[in-house]
Symmetry: C2
Subunit: 239 residues, 2 copies
């Protein structure tokens, strides 16, 4: 497949399957989520955030190329911090606190949906067991995250101003994600040498979209419609 077509393929997949299309996000951006639904979102999504550096370490661990590892290392710093500036995980805990939930509930994963756990584990497992190319290609949802995040910050401030102290995570991602996806896309283009490898990279992005989508499906169904959290899951006081 010629390079422009290969790259366009990623964008076509995002247009169809990235979770900016998910009803949970549409409701969020229309200001139609309740306080409890936003709590459930922040709590469950924290589990995803907390596994991102483990996922990135698994990808790092697969590379015998110091320059790849050095570039990828940036992601660990972005999420775990550098000991003085807080990383993405700490910032997401601020968001959890801004929703009124105790940070330790998120840290302990108390009441998160089993489906959240399964989808996130599937992601870590995917990057650990598939090819290095597929592992890197699965990160390419970051090609689409900038637009979603900038819309989100705008709408969260508009509709849920009480969240404003918890949005620092997103401002960081506005610059981090495009840097990361640019590196990853160049690397994938360079290393997908056969048609099969190119197809496997597209499939990896589809798989990652499924992982993000399944997390919002679980939230939507447990907390919006029909609104039936499974046994043991977080029960918002307004549900």
């Amino acid at each position: 497949m010629p390079e422009p077509e290969f790259i366009a393929g990623f964008h076509a997949i995002g247009k169809e399957r990235y979770h900016h299309l998910h009803r949970f996000h549409l409701l969020m951006h229309e200001g139609k989520l309740t306080h409890g639904q936003l709590q459930a979102w922040a709590l469950n999504r924290y589990y995803y955030q907390s596994r991102i550096p483990m996922k990135d370490a698994a990808i790092l661990a697969r590379s015998d190329d110091p320059s790849f590892r050095m570039a990828w290392r940036k992601r660990l710093i972005d999420h775990d911090g550098d000991g003085t500036k807080p990383g993405g995980i700490e910032k997401w805990l601020k968001l959890v606190e801004a929703t009124g939930l105790p940070r330790m509930q998120a840290v302990r994963g108390e009441g998160i949906l089993p489906a959240t756990r399964f989808a996130v584990e599937a992601y870590v497992h995917f990057v650990s067991t598939r090819t290095h190319l597929e592992a890197v290609a699965s990160s390419l949802t970051e090609l689409f995250s900038r637009d979603l995040i900038s819309l989100r910050v705008d709408r969260l401030l508009q509709h849920y101003p009480w969240l404003s102290g918890g949005l620092e995570y997103f401002s960081g991602r506005l610059t981090q994600a495009p840097e990361d996806s640019e590196f990853a896309l160049n690397w994938v283009v360079k290393h997908a040498r056969t048609r099969e490898e190119q197809d496997s990279a597209h499939d990896a992005l589809r798989a990652k979209c499924d992982i993000l989508w399944a997390q919002l499906d679980a939230l939507y169904y447990a907390y919006v419609n029909p609104g039936w959290p499974p046994p043991g899951a977080f029960q918002p006081s307004d549900l």
Copy 2:
């Protein structure tokens, strides 16, 4: 914990969390599922069935005790067959065909819900990475499956008589599951020597209940209410 209390703990967990309580099963048993919903169930559940021998092989692989391995080996035969009599997987394919879907769609996993895949992978991963005790204890949902299966066969025949050619899987399980759970329970009781080990065995059963429940949640939400299959998933013709 005294032995009777330890054993009663498993039964209490089943009473609260086993998927006989799930709304999808309640609808099934009331005859309220559509043809397409039963297709989606058979198709998705096939993925679970197909991974059972891989799960059991992972448990087998953890044991250095030939008598344990010999007892557990029975499960591989039950599901994979012995080359003359069909095993559970082949019987489940008959059920898929009885719903009108091609067996190859199930074998290929075409259109199964990503959430099904994630939950089932989480099960295989659980038994591969947790302690041998937890791995065995997670099988104890079989303590409860006999009652569910005998009710199910009864109600499927009553409400969906066109499925009658596909129910052989369940008749086999009526005797296999109680044999298996009796062995597993005795083994767990004998090998959980500390309070912590006993608690971990209870937690393992809870985790397994979550895995079963999440599969039905995904089916319910994608195909019953609200009825939104994620991108790429099976679309019944009557949805």
